[in-house]
Symmetry: D2
Subunit: 376 residues, 4 copies
C-alpha cells in the first residue's frame, strides 16, 4: 500500500494505517504524505519507511512506484486527503494501473465521481470507497435480515448522524478544511457525515432514495458551509423516511444511527454501541442481536474477529473494509475471481450516489419546490 | 368530579379515574359513562356510585347536578370520550358554570377549539386539557432549564412519537374510533399522538412552531386516516426541527421523546424512561438528571411524590395534571387566587395550538408548497 | 381501611394511602396516625376524615371501630409505623377480628413474627405484608418463567439492593428510626432493604436460603446499625448466590436488582427499570420482555393496568399488593373463597422468613464460622 | 517480536498479533507457533514469515535468534500458550537476554511466578503481563480519579466477571485446556477470568486484597475445575468487597465490571461498554465520562487513538498494553530511561498477585475457616 495524504496531525490518515495494519495482511510500503515535501519526509520517517519510498508528490509516487519491479512496488494506492484532492490522485493511479482505496466522499463534484466510476469500469481495477460504517458486523446482519425478508416490505427509515464538535466556532486542521468549500465541496455537514447516513440507509435496506425535501442550516456565525440539515426522504418502492445530520448537536459524539420499520419487524442500530442490533417484532419481545452470539449471517461472521463480548469498534469496522478489499485484491493479483463475500466493500457506484446525494440535498434546500428528484 | 365517557373497556376513562384518585384529593361523585344508558348504569355500579348519580346522558348529568346543593354537586366535569364528543359536553358544562377537564385533542375542529377557548375566557372557569406528558417532573425540569437559559439560544429540536400498535389492521374499540374520521377528526396518527409531540416541544422550549413541511402516509391498506407522518419544522426565533410520529413503527411501545440542542447545551428525554433527563454540555461529561436527585427546579419538585429511585410513571404524571388542577380549583372555590405553580397544567390555548397543528399538518401534506405557515 | 401511623412527614404512610387509593377499590375511613394525638388529629383532617374517625391511639381505634356497625366500621387495619410498632397493633387487630396489612419487616424479632403468624392461622384472618417489590408484573413474569422450567434447574442467584442515601451522617425522621436499634431492630441496612432482596430472591426462584456467610459493616462513624452487608448464600437444591445491600453506595438511588442463572437460561430485573425483564438463552439473542407486550403470564397480566410503554412504577406495584389483598378480602367478606390469583400477596410466612433472615445474617456476621444455617 | 504459541485456531495468539500490529510499531519477525513443528511451519507461512524464522520449538527460537545480529533478531518474546507453558519459555527468554510479553495468569503456580519475578529483577529486562483490561482508557481514568482522591476513602468494591460460554459441556480447543488442571492450574474460572477481576480491582483502587472468603462451585457435571465462584473480600485500609466470576452465567458474553464506592463518590465501569465510565456523587447528577470527551487524565489521553464516539474496543485496549511496552522498550534499547507513562503496563508483581489470588481462593473455598489471609 502506498498512501497519499495522512501526514502528521491528520486524523483519517492514521485511521487508514491502523485499519490496514490490524490484520497483518497489508503493508505500508510508500507514501506521499503531504503537499509539503518536508512534511511528507518527516511523516514517512516516523512511519519507519525507507527514505527512497517517501515521495514529495502523488505524481512522483505513482511514476516511481510504477517503475519498480512487481512484488516490490505498491499494489494499491490509499487516498486520505481532503475531498478536493481525491480525484486527481485516484485518476492518475487508475490510469497507471494501480488499484485504489479512497476516502469518502469520492470527489468534489458529481461529474468527477462519474468520470472516476467510468475509469474504474474501463480499467477493470478495484476501487474501494471507505464508507467504513458499513464494515460493522451488525450492519451486515441488518442488511441480510432485510434481504431475507424478515422485516417484510420496508415502510419507514429514520437515519440520523448527529455530532456536536462544531457547535462553536472551532479552528483546527480538521475543522478548517471541512468548512472550506474549496476543499470540502458544496456541502459541509451533509458531505462529511450526511453521505454516511445516506450510504448506510441504502446499504442496509437495499433501497435507493428517489426524491427528497431538504432544509439545511448554518448555525454558527461566519461558517461558510451548513452545519445541520433535516431531510424528508422518499425511497423506491414506497418507503419514506427522515434523514437528519448535525455538527451542532452539543454533546453528541458520533451518533450515526438507523431505524428501519417493515411490515413485520423493525431494526435499530447505533454506531456508538456497534455490536448491538435491536430487532423488534409484532407481539414478541424485542431481541438483542449481538456480534458473535448465536447463529448470524455469513457476512456478519466473516467481519468479526474475536468472540462475543470482546468489543470490536470503529477501527475493526474500518479494517473490515480494508481486509475485504485486500482479500479480493489478492485473488485479482493471482488472476483468480474474488470470493463475492470479499467484494462486500463500498465501490464507485456508492461514490456516485454519495455525490448525487450531496448535489441534490443542497439544491433541494435552496429550492421552494417541496420534492426534489435525486439528481442522476 | 363527574365523568363523561369512560365506561367499561375504555382505556383513557380508567386512566383518568386512577389519576384523579391517586392523591386522595378528588372524588368521583357522578358520571354519564356511555352513550348507552344501560352501559352507563352498569359502569357506575362497578364504580360504587349511587344509582341516582349515574346518568344516561351528559346533558342529564349537567342539568341534574346543577340542581344539587353546593358541596354535594360535582365541582367539575371530566370529559374522556372520543374526540368528536369533547366539544358538546365541554360547552354545556362551561355554560352551566362547571369547570372542565378534557382529554386531548380539544375538539374535532380548530373552529370548535376557538369557540371553547373564548367561552372559557368569558366564563372565567378553569379548563384543563390532559396533555399528560407535560406532567412528568423531568419534562418540567427541562422546561425550567431552557427558561433559565442554561442551553443558550435554542437551535434544533427533534421530537418523535413512534408507536407500533397499528402496524397491522387492528380492529378493536381503541383502534376503531381513532381511525374513523367522523370520530377522530381529519388526522389519525397526527391527532392522536402527533399533537402530544407538538405540545411537548412547545411546552419544553417555550417556542411556537411557525411553519412546517409535512409528509403523511397511510401504510395499512384500507385505513382511512394516516398512520405515519414526517414533518420539518421552523420555530419562532430561528430554531428548526423535525417531528415524526408513527403508529406502524413495529415493536415500539410508546416512544415519545425529545432532543433539544441550544448554543450551550442539549437535553434528551424519553417517555418510556421518564425519570431520566440527559443533559449534554460543550466539553463536559453528560449528566444524568433524575427525578428526586439533588437540587432540581421547584416545578420538578412539586410534581414528584416519592424519593428518587422509586419510579413514578405514566399515571403519576397524569395525576400531576389532575392534582395541579385540583389545587387550583380549591383556591378558586375558596375565592382565592391560585398558586401560579398550580396553574401549571395545559389549558385552552394548548388545545387551540393542537387543533391548529392538526389542520396545518394535513394541509401541508396535501400541498406541493414546501413551507406551510401554521394556521391561526 | 383504618391506618396506624403515617402522619405528616411520614414517607411510607403516604405511599400506602396512594397505593390503596389508586384503583378506587379501597377507602380510608379512619386512622390513628401518630403517637401524638394532636398530630394524629391534624393528619386526619388533612386527609378529609371526619373528626370522630381520627383516633389518638391504635388501641382506641380498634376498640371504637369494632363497636361501629358492619358496613361502617373499617374492614382492615393498615400498619405503617416504624418496625417496633408493627407487632402491637397487628396483634390487637387480629385479636379483635380485623384483617391486617402491615409494612415490612413484620416485627422487631423473629419470636414476635412467629407469634403473629400463629395468630393469623388461628383466626383465619387475612394478613398482608407489603413486600411491595414482588408486586411488579415483570417480577411475577420472572417467577412464572422459572416455575414453568424455562430456565432449567437454577444454579446461581445474585441479588443486590444498593442505595446511597446514608453515605454520610444523615439526620432526619426517615434516617433516625432506621438507625436506632430500639425502633428498627438488630439490623439496619439488612432489615430495611436486605429483607426485600431476600424476599425477592425467594419469591422469584421459589427456593429457600438454607445457609449463609455474612459480612456486615458500619461505615459511617457513630451509626449504631450496619449500613452495608455482603453475604454468600446457599439455597435448597444446590443453587448458590450472593446478596449484597448497601446504604452507602454513593449515587445509587434504589437499585434493587436480581440475576438468576439456570441450566438453560438467565433472567435480569432491575427495580429502577421495572417494566423490563431481560431473558438470556444459550446461543440465542437476549430477549427484552416488557410489561404489556405480547403473551405474558396470567400473573403479569393481572398486575398490569395500562398498555405497554405507559410506564407503571413503584406506586402501581405497591397498589397491586393492595388490590390483590382487597380482591381477596372482598371474597372473604362475602363468604366466598378468594381467587387464588388474588392471594398473590406476601403473607405471614414471608414475614417469618424475613425476620429469620435478619437474625441469621447478624449472627453470621458476628461469627467466625464460615457457614451459618438459616435460623428457624 | 517473536511469538511462542498462537498457531492456527488459537484465540489469544491472533489477538496478540493484531494488538501488536495495530499501531505500526511492532513487527512479528519470527515464531514457534506450536508444539508440533509442522503446525508451527504452516502457521508461520500463513503469517508471511520467511521459513528460516519459523521454529519448531521455543528453545530453538531463542537459541537461533540470539545468534542473529542485533537489529535483525527479535527484540522480545511474546508468550501466548496455555498456562502451563508460560513459565519455561519466559524463563529461557529472560536468561538469554530477551524481554518478555506473557499472557496471564503468569504461571502454573505461585512458586514459578515468584521465580520469574526474581529473574526479571535480576536481569533488569522488561516483563509485561497482558492483563489487557487495564489497557482501556476509562479504566485508567477511574484509577486516576481515585488516586486524586475524588472518591474520598474507598469503602466498598464490587467486581464481577460473568461469562456464559461454559454453561454446558463444551468441547473445543479453547474449553479443553481451560478445564484441564495439568494445563490450566488448580483453578478454572478463577484462573481464567477471576484473576482479571482481581487485577482490575487492585489496579483501579490501588488497594491490595488482604483476606477473603471463597465459595467455588463446579456446576457442569464431569468438569474438573470450578466454573463459578463467589468471594467476600477485605482490602487494606478497611475497604470491603465482593468478587464473583462465572462461566455458567447463561447469555452473558464477557461481562467484566466494577463498582467502587468511596466516601464522596462512586464509579462504575463495564467492559462491554468500555468507553463509558459512570461517576456518581452525593446530591449531584451522575456523570457519563466518555473516552475522548472533555478534560481527562493524561493516562486516559495517552491510551486513546481516535476522537470520541469512534468506539475503541478490546483490541485497542490490548494494543495499548503492547504500545506502552514497545515505547518503554524503545527507550531501553536506546539506553534511555522510559517515560513513566509508558511503564503503565502490568508486570511481574501483578503476575505474582494473580497467582497468590488463585492459590488463596482455592484454599479458602476448601476451608471451613471464614477468613483466609492472602497467601504471600
Amino acid at each position: 500500500m502506498g498512501m497519499v495524504g495522512g501526514g502528521k496531525d491528520a486524523f483519517i490518515g492514521s485511521v487508514h494505517r491502523m485499519a490496514a495494519a490490524l490484520d497483518n495482511e497489508i503493508e505500508l510500503v510508500c507514501g506521499a504524505f503531504s503537499s509539503s515535501p518536508e512534511k511528507s519526509k518527516a511523516s514517512g520517517e516516523a512511519l519507519y519507511l525507507p527514505a527512497d519510498r517517501v515521495y514529495g508528490t502523488f505524481e512522483e509516487m505513482i511514476t516511481k512506484e510504477k517503475a519498480l519491479p512487481e512484488g516490490v512496488r505498491m499494489d494499491f494506492v490509499s487516498i486520505v486527503t481532503p475531498n478536493h484532492m481525491h480525484f486527481p490522485p485516484a485518476k492518475l493511479a487508475l490510469e497507471n494501473g494501480f488499484h485504489v482505496v479512497c476516502d469518502k466522499p469520492m470527489t468534489l463534484t458529481l461529474a468527477e465521481a462519474k468520470e472516476l466510476r467510468d475509469l474504474v469500469k474501463k480499467t477493470g481495477l478495484l476501487f474501494c470507497l471507505t464508507h467504513n460504517y458499513t464494515g460493522y458486523p451488525m450492519v451486515k446482519e441488518a442488511r441480510q435480515m432485510i434481504k431475507d425478508g424478515k422485516l417484510g416490505k420496508i415502510r419507514k427509515i429514520v437515519v440520523e448522524y448527529p455530532q456536536g464538535w462544531l457547535a462553536t466556532k472551532v479552528e483546527n486542521k480538521q475543522a478548517d478544511w471541512r468548512t472550506d468549500p474549496s476543499r470540502s465541496g458544496i456541502a459541509g455537514c451533509m458531505g462529511d457525515i450526511g453521505t454516511h447516513a445516506e450510504n448506510l440507509a441504502e446499504y442496509i435496506t437495499g433501497l435507493k432514495i428517489t426524491e427528497m425535501c431538504a432544509d439545511l442550516t448554518t448555525y454558527v456565525e461566519g461558517r461558510r458551509l451548513e452545519d445541520d440539515g433535516n431531510v424528508l426522504l422518499h425511497f423506491e418502492g414506497g418507503a419514506k423516511g427522515v434523514l437528519h445530520a448535525s455538527q451542532i448537536a452539543v454533546g453528541v459524539e458520533n451518533g450515526l444511527n438507523i431505524r428501519v420499520y417493515g411490515e413485520k419487524g423493525g431494526l435499530y442500530w447505533l454506531q456508538e454501541d456497534p455490536n448491538t442490533l435491536i430487532a423488534s417484532w409484532i407481539g414478541q419481545p424485542k431481541q438483542i442481536i449481538r456480534t458473535g452470539v448465536g447463529k448470524l449471517s455469513e457476512a456478519a461472521g466473516m467481519n468479526t474477529r474475536i468472540p462475543a463480548g470482546h468489543p470490536e469498534g470503529y477501527l475493526e469496522a474500518f479494517a473490515n473494509v480494508y481486509r475485504n478489499f485486500a482479500n479480493a485484491l489478492r485473488s485479482v493479483l493471482k488472476g483468480e475471481k474474488p470470493n463475492p463475500a470479499h467484494l462486500d466493500f463500498p465501490g464507485p457506484e456508492d461514490g456516485v450516489r454519495g455525490m448525487a446525494f450531496i448535489e441534490t440535498v443542497v439544491a433541494s434546500s435552496n429550492s421552494k419546490e417541496k420534492w426534489f428528484k435525486m439528481i442522476e
